[in-house]
């Protein structure tokens, strides 16, 4: 369950994080409900409209500031979305892998659905079915499985024209090289998602997502199938580094989608939309 984190930015609606997760879907309901309400509520409605305007512009245009994320992931980001030009690092528990690739793929889904192109660099063996099931449009997903020694150049070239680039670096890059890629993303207004695995990443990203407390449901001693994976995703970042945000998510859920773990059904993965 989300903690009581309050978004710091001026464009954020007031109120608990939980409501922000469903803000976009129920935007009009919210504004009608708050009609004639308190000044704060009217302010919130206004903010909602501003966000709506941001989101209804074609995502493919590089003029938009934000790229959407799936509703269960909204609370992980200070803007409730991926900010163009930013870098996100996704890592598994401790120095292990596990959950990191699934979370990185989930980050692409909403933007992909809205028309953005995505690219994966250095991931030999994408599970295309998983990518499809989480909501990525495979027609707009380019994969460079084996970039070899040119992985940084390839990543830079992709950041020129692809909205979201996921990089699995083969080893920990020198700080100067990492800084160049971060600067390229900022300059080209793309989003760089780094999945360092065991390689590490020398730069502080705008947002760091760390997976922990993984639990798979559905299996025991031979019976059943893997049904879904509960995990905690902790978001830290430059602008709110002192307040880590913990989110309990199904990644993947029984359908391969992403869902919030609700208090009412802590052991059942049937809460996805």
């Amino acid at each position: 369950m989300p903690t009581g984190w309050t978004p710091p930015g001026p464009v954020q609606p007031a109120g608990p994080t939980k409501r922000r997760a469903v803000l976009y879907e129920h935007m009009f309901v919210e504004s009608i409900d708050s009609r004639g309400g308190s000044g704060a509520a009217r302010g919130q409605a206004r903010e909602s409209l501003a966000l709506l305007a941001e989101r209804t512009r074609p995502v493919s245009s590089s003029q938009t500031r934000l790229l959407p994320v799936l509703p269960p992931l909204v609370g992980l980001f200070p803007d409730g979305s991926l900010r163009r030009g930013s870098t996100v690092v996704v890592s598994g528990p401790d120095r292990n892998t596990g959950g990191d690739i699934s979370v990185a793929l989930a980050l692409l889904a909403a933007a992909s659905e809205a028309g953005s192109w995505c690219a994966l660099v250095g991931m030999a063996g994408l599970g295309a079915v998983a990518a499809h099931d989480v909501g990525i449009d495979l027609a707009r997903l380019a994969v460079v499985p084996r970039p070899g020694a040119a992985w940084a150049e390839v990543t830079a070239a992709l950041l020129d024209g692809v909205d979201l680039v996921v990089l699995c670096p083969p080893f920990s890059p020198r700080p100067a090289m990492a800084r160049r890629l971060v600067a390229r993303a900022r300059e080209r207004r793309s989003v760089l998602v780094v999945v360092p695995g065991r390689s590490g990443w020398p730069e502080h990203p705008d947002v760091r997502l760390r997976v922990s407390d993984i639990h798979w449901d559905g299996v025991g001693t031979g019976e059943g199938y893997l049904h879904g994976r509960r995990m905690t995703v902790t978001a830290t970042g430059r602008r709110s580094a002192t307040r880590p945000r913990h989110h309990h998510l199904w990644v993947p859920s029984t359908t391969g989608a992403v869902a919030e773990v609700t208090v009412a059904s802590p052991t059942s993965p049937t809460t996805q939309p």
Binding site: S60, G127, G161
Partner: protein, 367 residues
Amino acid sequence: MNRLLVVRCPELLDEDEGGAVLRSFVDVIDAVEVYCPWVTTVRSGICSLPARGPARYFGGEDSLVRQVVDATSDITAVEVGVADGLFAAVLAARSGLVVPAGGTPDFLAPFPVDVLGHPELTELLTRLGIGSLGDFAALPESHVLGRFGADGVLCHMVAGGRSGELGELRQPVAGRRIDELRSGGRRGGAGRHGTTAGESGFWGEVSDADARAGRALAAVQDLIGPDAVVTARLQGGRGPAQRARFVTWNAQGGLEDSTLEAPWPGQIPPPAPAVVHPTPLLAELADAGGQPVSVSGRGLLTGAPARLSVEKGPWTTVTAWAGPWPSDERWWSRSRRRSARMQAVTATEAYLLLVERGRWWVEATYG
């Protein structure tokens, strides 16, 4: 399935050293593009375009075929046909036919099975007394999977006119060379033609984002080679590796439907693994006493899995597992496999394991 018009140039099927063949074929593509901006190069000498929109615009499919023939026959000998799906449309072009919508299964039925281009499968079918695509298509799909494996099912779907794609039909490298010959600033895949601008809705529009991405991907291809950039297509299959196909990205590829949803017997239920290893990783599975665990002839584990090691790495504790589920695939092929699958969970990861001849492999990781 897409209604496709195929132009086949029998004299341009084999590339020559000087490149004259490809240059003539480029002239053919340029002439065809007047009728539709989404011309896809299938291989040297064969290109396709979606027929539905242009046919509406140019007075029906027969009229469209006549106009395409008129526009190209000065360049080289051409054969033009229309059918549902690429496989049938290529055969229709060879016969110079417009196969009516929905008539593709009947059209395909009399062709011999060797047109599928799978000699092993042809040999086996012939031995079973199955000589035509129609006879093959009449076999129930469940039998086909059991006897001929996943490749056999793909061929079976094509034979029955339920799918038009066989991997062997396309030669993406030729497509790339042709793109290079024609590049002249339109690499981004944006086919813009005055004659069709007002009708872009028929063929789908190329957005600004598509054009930008196309340029970035072409730059990556220049950097490390055309085959380094791929896109994924889904297809039917039992294991995760069989359910996806990666094809070389091609600016001319257009926005073809990338998914094929077909129920598949024996599939492991979702969620699907995020990483499917191109080459399975060697694994060892042991019980609490350190004894190797294997699967008996009756499909049962010989011990309770307690520890797993991947690629000779450190042992990790197996906290839960599911399976094994026997799977006996492709027995007819030389790469015949009698195997079983199992899911194993450790503290941080979950794996899809495959056991074959007593040896364990990590086929996929849930990542």
